[in-house]
Protein backbone atom coordinates (compact mmCIF):
# COMPACT_ATOMS: atom_id res chain seq x y z
CA UNK A 1 0.00 0.00 0.00
CA UNK A 2 2.61 2.52 1.02
CA UNK A 3 5.78 3.11 -0.87
CA UNK A 4 7.52 5.03 1.85
CA UNK A 5 9.58 3.45 4.57
CA UNK A 6 7.72 1.64 7.32
CA UNK A 7 5.77 3.20 10.16
CA UNK A 8 8.76 3.45 12.49
CA UNK A 9 10.85 5.62 10.19
CA UNK A 10 11.29 9.27 11.00
CA UNK A 11 10.14 12.04 8.73
CA UNK A 12 12.12 15.20 8.31
CA UNK A 13 10.09 18.30 7.87
CA UNK A 14 11.21 21.91 7.93
CA UNK A 15 14.50 20.69 9.34
CA UNK A 16 12.94 19.16 12.46
CA UNK A 17 12.81 15.49 13.28
CA UNK A 18 9.15 14.70 13.67
CA UNK A 19 7.12 11.72 14.78
CA UNK A 20 6.89 8.32 13.05
CA UNK A 21 4.78 8.42 9.91
CA UNK A 22 1.22 7.22 10.16
CA UNK A 23 -0.76 6.66 7.04
CA UNK A 24 -4.10 5.24 6.03
CA UNK A 25 -2.70 1.69 6.19
CA UNK A 26 -2.15 2.08 9.94
CA UNK A 27 -5.79 2.81 10.86
CA UNK A 28 -7.43 0.63 13.52
CA UNK A 29 -10.86 0.20 11.97
CA UNK A 30 -12.36 -1.08 15.22
CA UNK A 31 -11.09 1.81 17.36
CA UNK A 32 -13.96 3.45 19.25
CA UNK A 33 -12.58 6.94 18.57
CA UNK A 34 -13.06 6.40 14.84
CA UNK A 35 -16.75 5.67 15.43
CA UNK A 36 -17.09 8.65 17.77
CA UNK A 37 -15.56 11.18 15.35
CA UNK A 38 -17.62 9.74 12.48
CA UNK A 39 -20.83 10.35 14.43
CA UNK A 40 -19.92 13.74 15.92
CA UNK A 41 -19.51 15.13 12.39
CA UNK A 42 -22.81 13.69 11.21
CA UNK A 43 -25.09 14.31 14.16
CA UNK A 44 -25.54 17.79 15.63
CA UNK A 45 -27.18 16.39 18.76
CA UNK A 46 -24.20 14.08 19.37
CA UNK A 47 -21.87 17.06 18.90
CA UNK A 48 -23.85 19.07 21.44
CA UNK A 49 -23.63 16.19 23.93
CA UNK A 50 -19.87 16.02 23.36
CA UNK A 51 -19.54 19.71 24.15
CA UNK A 52 -21.87 19.58 27.17
CA UNK A 53 -20.60 16.30 28.65
CA UNK A 54 -17.12 15.47 27.41
CA UNK A 55 -16.35 12.67 29.89
CA UNK A 56 -19.81 11.15 29.52
CA UNK A 57 -19.39 11.06 25.76
CA UNK A 58 -16.01 9.31 25.96
CA UNK A 59 -17.61 6.69 28.18
CA UNK A 60 -20.74 6.37 26.04
CA UNK A 61 -18.58 5.48 23.02
CA UNK A 62 -16.64 2.94 25.13
CA UNK A 63 -13.23 4.46 24.49
CA UNK A 64 -10.24 2.64 25.98
CA UNK A 65 -8.31 4.28 28.81
CA UNK A 66 -5.48 5.12 26.42
CA UNK A 67 -7.93 6.83 24.07
CA UNK A 68 -9.55 8.73 26.94
CA UNK A 69 -6.18 10.01 28.14
CA UNK A 70 -5.32 11.22 24.63
CA UNK A 71 -8.68 13.01 24.28
CA UNK A 72 -8.35 14.63 27.73
CA UNK A 73 -4.87 15.86 26.89
CA UNK A 74 -5.97 16.94 23.41
CA UNK A 75 -3.04 14.88 22.16
CA UNK A 76 -3.97 14.39 18.53
CA UNK A 77 -0.63 12.76 17.75
CA UNK A 78 -1.37 10.09 20.34
CA UNK A 79 -4.79 9.48 18.79
CA UNK A 80 -3.10 8.97 15.43
CA UNK A 81 -0.70 6.46 16.95
CA UNK A 82 -3.64 4.60 18.52
CA UNK A 83 -5.15 4.15 15.05
CA UNK A 84 -7.47 7.10 14.42
CA UNK A 85 -7.74 7.68 10.67
CA UNK A 86 -5.36 10.49 9.61
CA UNK A 87 -8.26 12.30 7.90
CA UNK A 88 -9.94 12.67 11.30
CA UNK A 89 -6.92 14.21 13.04
CA UNK A 90 -7.34 17.81 11.76
CA UNK A 91 -11.08 17.44 12.35
CA UNK A 92 -10.37 16.63 15.99
CA UNK A 93 -8.26 19.79 16.11
CA UNK A 94 -11.31 21.64 14.75
CA UNK A 95 -13.55 20.08 17.42
CA UNK A 96 -11.35 21.76 20.03
CA UNK A 97 -10.31 24.95 18.25
CA UNK A 98 -13.06 25.68 15.72
CA UNK A 99 -13.30 25.08 12.00
CA UNK A 100 -13.71 28.52 10.47
CA UNK A 101 -10.85 30.09 8.50
CA UNK A 102 -8.75 26.94 8.88
CA UNK A 103 -5.52 28.23 7.31
CA UNK A 104 -2.04 27.00 8.20
CA UNK A 105 -1.65 29.43 11.10
CA UNK A 106 -5.19 28.98 12.46
CA UNK A 107 -5.64 27.80 16.04
CA UNK A 108 -6.80 24.38 14.81
CA UNK A 109 -3.84 23.92 12.45
CA UNK A 110 -1.48 24.97 15.24
CA UNK A 111 -2.98 22.42 17.62
CA UNK A 112 -2.45 19.74 14.97
CA UNK A 113 1.13 20.87 14.31
CA UNK A 114 1.95 21.04 18.03
CA UNK A 115 0.57 17.67 19.03
CA UNK A 116 1.17 15.64 15.86
CA UNK A 117 4.39 17.16 14.55
CA UNK A 118 5.77 18.40 17.86
CA UNK A 119 6.13 21.95 16.55
CA UNK A 120 6.48 24.87 18.91
CA UNK A 121 4.09 27.75 18.34
Amino acid sequence: MRSRAGKFSLTIRRGCISFPEMGIADVDKSLASNRMVFELRRDEAALERFRADFEGTLTAYALSEAEKVAWRERDIGALGKLGVHPYFLPQIARLFRGGAYNHNRSAAAKLYAATVLGEKD
Partner: protein, 284 residues
Protein backbone atom coordinates in the same frame (compact mmCIF):
# COMPACT_ATOMS: atom_id res chain seq x y z
CA UNK B 1 -29.79 7.68 -26.54
CA UNK B 2 -28.59 10.25 -24.08
CA UNK B 3 -25.46 12.24 -24.69
CA UNK B 4 -22.37 12.79 -22.57
CA UNK B 5 -21.73 16.45 -23.22
CA UNK B 6 -18.89 17.16 -20.83
CA UNK B 7 -16.29 15.24 -18.84
CA UNK B 8 -14.18 17.16 -16.38
CA UNK B 9 -12.23 16.73 -13.18
CA UNK B 10 -11.26 19.31 -10.60
CA UNK B 11 -9.94 19.74 -7.09
CA UNK B 12 -12.34 20.46 -4.23
CA UNK B 13 -10.08 21.58 -1.38
CA UNK B 14 -11.98 23.65 1.22
CA UNK B 15 -9.37 26.40 1.28
CA UNK B 16 -10.67 27.63 -2.05
CA UNK B 17 -13.83 28.88 -0.35
CA UNK B 18 -12.64 28.91 3.27
CA UNK B 19 -9.31 30.76 3.32
CA UNK B 20 -8.30 31.67 -0.23
CA UNK B 21 -7.07 35.07 0.95
CA UNK B 22 -4.14 33.30 2.64
CA UNK B 23 -2.67 32.37 -0.76
CA UNK B 24 -0.36 34.85 -2.54
CA UNK B 25 -2.43 37.41 -4.43
CA UNK B 26 -1.26 36.39 -7.90
CA UNK B 27 -2.09 32.77 -7.09
CA UNK B 28 -5.56 33.72 -5.84
CA UNK B 29 -6.17 35.45 -9.15
CA UNK B 30 -4.91 32.49 -11.21
CA UNK B 31 -7.04 30.06 -9.19
CA UNK B 32 -10.19 32.12 -9.66
CA UNK B 33 -9.42 32.54 -13.37
CA UNK B 34 -8.85 28.79 -13.68
CA UNK B 35 -12.08 27.87 -11.93
CA UNK B 36 -13.89 30.42 -14.10
CA UNK B 37 -12.55 28.60 -17.16
CA UNK B 38 -13.83 25.32 -15.73
CA UNK B 39 -17.21 26.98 -15.16
CA UNK B 40 -17.26 28.26 -18.73
CA UNK B 41 -16.36 24.86 -20.22
CA UNK B 42 -19.01 23.18 -18.09
CA UNK B 43 -21.75 25.71 -18.87
CA UNK B 44 -20.94 25.76 -22.60
CA UNK B 45 -21.87 22.06 -22.73
CA UNK B 46 -25.38 22.89 -21.38
CA UNK B 47 -25.71 19.75 -19.23
CA UNK B 48 -28.98 19.05 -17.47
CA UNK B 49 -27.61 16.46 -15.07
CA UNK B 50 -24.22 15.77 -13.50
CA UNK B 51 -22.96 12.32 -12.64
CA UNK B 52 -20.46 13.28 -9.95
CA UNK B 53 -17.69 11.08 -8.58
CA UNK B 54 -15.83 12.05 -5.42
CA UNK B 55 -14.17 10.66 -2.33
CA UNK B 56 -16.42 10.09 0.66
CA UNK B 57 -14.41 11.81 3.40
CA UNK B 58 -15.50 9.23 5.97
CA UNK B 59 -18.74 11.19 6.26
CA UNK B 60 -21.25 8.66 4.90
CA UNK B 61 -19.19 5.48 5.12
CA UNK B 62 -17.38 4.73 8.42
CA UNK B 63 -13.87 3.24 8.34
CA UNK B 64 -15.22 -0.21 9.22
CA UNK B 65 -17.93 -0.26 6.55
CA UNK B 66 -16.86 1.17 3.23
CA UNK B 67 -18.18 0.36 -0.22
CA UNK B 68 -16.09 1.15 -3.28
CA UNK B 69 -18.96 3.19 -4.74
CA UNK B 70 -22.04 4.63 -3.03
CA UNK B 71 -24.62 6.26 -5.30
CA UNK B 72 -27.16 8.86 -4.22
CA UNK B 73 -30.74 8.12 -5.24
CA UNK B 74 -32.61 11.09 -3.73
CA UNK B 75 -34.62 13.56 -5.81
CA UNK B 76 -33.11 16.50 -3.97
CA UNK B 77 -29.98 17.24 -2.01
CA UNK B 78 -28.75 19.90 0.31
CA UNK B 79 -25.39 20.96 1.61
CA UNK B 80 -23.11 21.52 3.24
CA UNK B 81 -23.70 19.30 6.28
CA UNK B 82 -23.76 21.59 9.35
CA UNK B 83 -20.36 20.53 10.72
CA UNK B 84 -18.70 21.80 7.51
CA UNK B 85 -20.57 25.05 7.21
CA UNK B 86 -18.13 27.48 8.84
CA UNK B 87 -15.10 25.55 7.57
CA UNK B 88 -16.24 25.82 3.95
CA UNK B 89 -17.67 29.30 4.24
CA UNK B 90 -20.39 28.56 1.68
CA UNK B 91 -24.05 29.38 2.20
CA UNK B 92 -26.56 26.52 2.43
CA UNK B 93 -27.72 25.30 -0.98
CA UNK B 94 -30.15 22.84 -2.51
CA UNK B 95 -29.72 20.97 -5.74
CA UNK B 96 -32.00 18.56 -7.57
CA UNK B 97 -31.12 14.87 -7.67
CA UNK B 98 -32.01 12.43 -10.44
CA UNK B 99 -33.32 9.16 -9.07
CA UNK B 100 -34.13 7.66 -12.47
CA UNK B 101 -30.58 8.08 -13.73
CA UNK B 102 -29.13 6.73 -10.46
CA UNK B 103 -31.42 3.71 -10.69
CA UNK B 104 -30.44 3.08 -14.30
CA UNK B 105 -26.76 3.01 -13.29
CA UNK B 106 -27.52 0.64 -10.39
CA UNK B 107 -29.61 -1.66 -12.56
CA UNK B 108 -27.27 -1.80 -15.55
CA UNK B 109 -23.95 -1.70 -13.67
CA UNK B 110 -23.63 -5.30 -12.48
CA UNK B 111 -23.76 -6.73 -16.04
CA UNK B 112 -20.68 -4.58 -16.70
CA UNK B 113 -18.88 -5.60 -13.50
CA UNK B 114 -19.84 -2.47 -11.58
CA UNK B 115 -21.93 -2.44 -8.42
CA UNK B 116 -23.09 0.43 -6.28
CA UNK B 117 -24.31 0.70 -2.73
CA UNK B 118 -27.21 3.16 -2.63
CA UNK B 119 -28.38 5.86 -0.26
CA UNK B 120 -31.02 8.56 -0.44
CA UNK B 121 -29.59 10.55 2.48
CA UNK B 122 -26.00 11.46 1.78
CA UNK B 123 -24.28 14.27 3.63
CA UNK B 124 -22.23 16.67 1.50
CA UNK B 125 -18.95 18.32 2.46
CA UNK B 126 -16.26 19.95 0.34
CA UNK B 127 -16.53 17.10 -2.19
CA UNK B 128 -19.62 18.67 -3.82
CA UNK B 129 -19.92 22.04 -2.08
CA UNK B 130 -16.73 23.51 -3.54
CA UNK B 131 -17.08 22.38 -7.18
CA UNK B 132 -20.81 23.16 -7.37
CA UNK B 133 -20.24 26.69 -6.09
CA UNK B 134 -17.87 27.36 -8.97
CA UNK B 135 -19.43 25.30 -11.78
CA UNK B 136 -23.12 25.87 -11.03
CA UNK B 137 -23.39 29.00 -8.92
CA UNK B 138 -27.19 28.87 -9.35
CA UNK B 139 -27.33 25.17 -8.35
CA UNK B 140 -29.63 24.60 -11.33
CA UNK B 141 -28.15 21.37 -12.73
CA UNK B 142 -29.33 18.08 -11.19
CA UNK B 143 -26.71 15.91 -9.47
CA UNK B 144 -26.32 12.17 -9.12
CA UNK B 145 -23.60 11.99 -6.46
CA UNK B 146 -21.37 8.91 -6.42
CA UNK B 147 -19.26 8.77 -3.27
CA UNK B 148 -16.29 6.45 -3.45
CA UNK B 149 -13.70 5.01 -1.12
CA UNK B 150 -10.33 6.63 -1.80
CA UNK B 151 -8.84 6.59 1.70
CA UNK B 152 -9.65 3.34 3.52
CA UNK B 153 -7.59 0.38 2.28
CA UNK B 154 -8.24 -1.72 0.36
CA UNK B 155 -9.01 0.89 -2.29
CA UNK B 156 -10.61 0.09 -5.64
CA UNK B 157 -7.81 -0.34 -8.19
CA UNK B 158 -7.18 2.29 -10.86
CA UNK B 159 -8.08 -0.34 -13.46
CA UNK B 160 -11.45 -0.96 -11.82
CA UNK B 161 -12.08 2.79 -11.49
CA UNK B 162 -11.37 3.17 -15.21
CA UNK B 163 -13.81 0.34 -15.97
CA UNK B 164 -16.45 2.02 -13.79
CA UNK B 165 -16.12 5.19 -15.87
CA UNK B 166 -16.40 3.22 -19.09
CA UNK B 167 -19.52 1.49 -17.76
CA UNK B 168 -21.15 4.76 -16.68
CA UNK B 169 -20.60 6.24 -20.15
CA UNK B 170 -21.89 3.10 -21.90
CA UNK B 171 -24.99 2.92 -19.72
CA UNK B 172 -25.81 6.61 -20.18
CA UNK B 173 -25.49 6.30 -23.96
CA UNK B 174 -27.32 2.97 -24.25
CA UNK B 175 -30.02 3.18 -21.61
CA UNK B 176 -30.94 6.81 -21.02
CA UNK B 177 -33.47 8.68 -23.13
CA UNK B 178 -32.50 10.81 -26.11
CA UNK B 179 -32.20 14.47 -25.27
CA UNK B 180 -30.72 13.91 -21.81
CA UNK B 181 -27.45 15.86 -21.55
CA UNK B 182 -25.09 14.35 -19.00
CA UNK B 183 -21.91 15.82 -17.54
CA UNK B 184 -19.38 13.61 -15.80
CA UNK B 185 -17.66 15.52 -12.99
CA UNK B 186 -14.87 14.00 -10.89
CA UNK B 187 -13.76 15.97 -7.85
CA UNK B 188 -10.73 15.54 -5.59
CA UNK B 189 -6.94 15.65 -5.63
CA UNK B 190 -4.46 16.66 -6.72
CA UNK B 191 -1.60 16.00 -4.27
CA UNK B 192 -2.60 16.52 -0.65
CA UNK B 193 -2.61 14.55 2.57
CA UNK B 194 -5.22 15.71 5.10
CA UNK B 195 -3.96 14.88 8.56
CA UNK B 196 -1.13 12.69 7.28
CA UNK B 197 2.63 13.08 7.17
CA UNK B 198 2.44 15.41 4.15
CA UNK B 199 -0.41 17.53 5.54
CA UNK B 200 1.37 20.83 4.89
CA UNK B 201 3.00 19.76 1.62
CA UNK B 202 2.06 19.80 -2.06
CA UNK B 203 3.89 17.56 -4.57
CA UNK B 204 4.01 19.76 -7.64
CA UNK B 205 6.28 17.36 -9.54
CA UNK B 206 3.78 14.52 -9.15
CA UNK B 207 0.84 16.77 -10.04
CA UNK B 208 2.39 18.11 -13.23
CA UNK B 209 3.42 14.62 -14.30
CA UNK B 210 -0.13 13.36 -13.70
CA UNK B 211 -1.68 16.23 -15.68
CA UNK B 212 0.79 15.68 -18.53
CA UNK B 213 -0.22 12.02 -18.65
CA UNK B 214 -3.89 12.99 -18.97
CA UNK B 215 -2.99 15.48 -21.70
CA UNK B 216 -1.21 12.71 -23.61
CA UNK B 217 -4.56 10.96 -24.12
CA UNK B 218 -3.28 7.44 -23.48
CA UNK B 219 -5.35 5.74 -20.75
CA UNK B 220 -3.22 2.58 -20.81
CA UNK B 221 -0.18 4.60 -19.90
CA UNK B 222 -2.09 6.37 -17.11
CA UNK B 223 -3.09 3.01 -15.68
CA UNK B 224 0.48 1.71 -15.90
CA UNK B 225 2.06 4.74 -14.27
CA UNK B 226 -0.54 6.13 -11.86
CA UNK B 227 -0.60 3.26 -9.41
CA UNK B 228 -2.02 3.51 -5.91
CA UNK B 229 1.56 3.46 -4.59
CA UNK B 230 2.55 6.35 -6.85
CA UNK B 231 -0.42 8.41 -5.66
CA UNK B 232 0.16 7.45 -2.02
CA UNK B 233 3.78 8.59 -2.18
CA UNK B 234 2.44 12.07 -3.03
CA UNK B 235 0.12 12.03 0.01
CA UNK B 236 -1.58 8.80 0.94
CA UNK B 237 -4.65 10.22 2.65
CA UNK B 238 -5.68 12.54 -0.19
CA UNK B 239 -3.85 12.14 -3.48
CA UNK B 240 -5.61 8.81 -3.98
CA UNK B 241 -8.74 10.92 -4.58
CA UNK B 242 -7.38 11.01 -8.12
CA UNK B 243 -9.03 7.60 -8.45
CA UNK B 244 -12.15 9.67 -9.15
CA UNK B 245 -10.33 11.36 -12.04
CA UNK B 246 -9.54 7.89 -13.38
CA UNK B 247 -13.29 7.13 -13.35
CA UNK B 248 -13.75 10.30 -15.44
CA UNK B 249 -10.92 9.19 -17.72
CA UNK B 250 -12.76 5.91 -18.30
CA UNK B 251 -15.90 7.85 -19.23
CA UNK B 252 -13.96 10.16 -21.57
CA UNK B 253 -12.24 7.36 -23.50
CA UNK B 254 -8.98 7.57 -25.38
CA UNK B 255 -8.84 11.34 -25.74
CA UNK B 256 -6.48 14.01 -24.50
CA UNK B 257 -7.48 16.15 -21.54
CA UNK B 258 -6.81 19.85 -21.42
CA UNK B 259 -5.53 21.41 -18.19
CA UNK B 260 -7.44 24.62 -17.48
CA UNK B 261 -5.90 25.29 -14.11
CA UNK B 262 -3.05 24.16 -11.91
CA UNK B 263 -1.56 25.75 -8.83
CA UNK B 264 0.58 24.18 -6.14
CA UNK B 265 -1.50 25.91 -3.47
CA UNK B 266 0.49 25.35 -0.30
CA UNK B 267 -1.70 27.72 1.73
CA UNK B 268 -4.71 25.64 0.66
CA UNK B 269 -2.75 22.45 1.54
CA UNK B 270 -3.56 21.01 -1.91
CA UNK B 271 -2.44 20.83 -5.50
CA UNK B 272 -5.42 22.63 -7.06
CA UNK B 273 -6.47 22.23 -10.64
CA UNK B 274 -8.89 21.03 -13.22
CA UNK B 275 -9.05 19.42 -16.64
CA UNK B 276 -11.67 18.92 -19.33
CA UNK B 277 -11.60 16.20 -21.94
CA UNK B 278 -12.22 17.33 -25.48
CA UNK B 279 -15.20 15.23 -26.60
CA UNK B 280 -15.36 16.56 -30.16
CA UNK B 281 -13.28 14.00 -32.06
CA UNK B 282 -14.36 10.38 -31.99
CA UNK B 283 -12.28 8.31 -29.58
CA UNK B 284 -9.46 6.33 -31.19
Amino acid sequence: MAEIVCVLALSHAPGLTGWLDQAPEDQQRRLLDGYRKLHDAFQAAKPDVIVGIANDHLLNMPVDDTADFLIGTAESWQGPAPWFSDWLNVPPYKVRGHRALAETLMREGPARGVSFRASDRLLFDDNWSVPLKFLTPDYDVALVPIHMNCIVPPLPSPRHCHAVGQAIAEIVRAKRPAGERVAIMATGGLSHDPGGPRYFAVDEVFDRRFLALLEAGDPDRVLREVTIDAMAAAGDGGTTELLSWIVALGAAGKRPARTLCYEAAVELRCGMGGVVWDLTPAPA
